[in-house]
Amino acid sequence: MTQLEMIELVRQHHEHLGETEIRKLLDRALADFAAKTEILESSATFSTVADQRYYTLPDELLKIKSVWYNDTQIPQLIGKPSIDDSTSETS
């Protein structure tokens, strides 16, 4: 189904709504659907910077499944190290 087809289907029920409002309803429905079903698996990639501890995650990321360092899966640390020696905050 294309985006305009989806908008048209909603409009059949809600003639009083403009296209922007319908798009917002569909965006919220999409976000709710993706969060509840966990249907959209994907990955984000970035490169390490020497002595940098933290890297900002993409806003679209809802839940981390696994993290790989140079093609090797690395485990999650429970808690946080007691010393933060990083020189910068984010990538």
């Binding site: 294309t2 989806m6 798009r23 976000a31 509840k36 990955s43 490169s47 390490t48 900002t56 993290v67």
Partner: protein
């Protein structure tokens, strides 16, 4: 005796950031506190984060000639998403119809259950074990 220089790396979450550290004995000491974890000392190593993502927002500059299909979500669930939007529309004070909203919410929940099953199976169909009489 040969010694290994391989360091175990770990990740952890800090609000909307991910922390990447490597472990070695007594790696960092500050204010009389010692920890085995230090920030990664090597640059340009690839970190790949696999996870569940939110789909892109719909394009706001659509025309009839440039109307892409919603490819991120499997096509059989597009109508489920529309159902949710219709239900939300019926909760709008300008057109409030609670019975209609309830109906479409129930339809959405039905579709959601199917989508969850589909999501867990990840495009694999289930195997059926047939009894066989020797």
């Amino acid at each position: 005796m040969a010694t290994s220089t391989t360091r175990q790396r770990y990740w952890y979450l800090d609000k909307r950031r991910i922390g990447i550290v490597e472990k070695s004995n007594n790696a960092t000491t500050q204010e009389a506190v010692t920890t085995d974890y230090s920030s990664i000392s090597v640059a340009d190593k690839t970190i790949r984060v696999y996870g569940i993502f939110k789909p892109d927002a719909l394009n706001s500059t659509l025309t009839a000639d440039d109307d892409p299909a919603l490819t991120e979500i499997p096509v059989q669930f597009h109508e489920v998403i529309v159902t949710r939007a219709i239900a939300s529309g019926y909760k709008d004070p300008r057109n409030m119809q609670i019975d209609m909203a309830t109906y479409f919410d129930a339809e959405y929940d039905k579709g959601l259950r199917e989508a969850k099953k589909f999501s867990k199976s990840r495009y694999r169909s289930g195997a059926v074990i047939r009894p066989y009489d020797f």
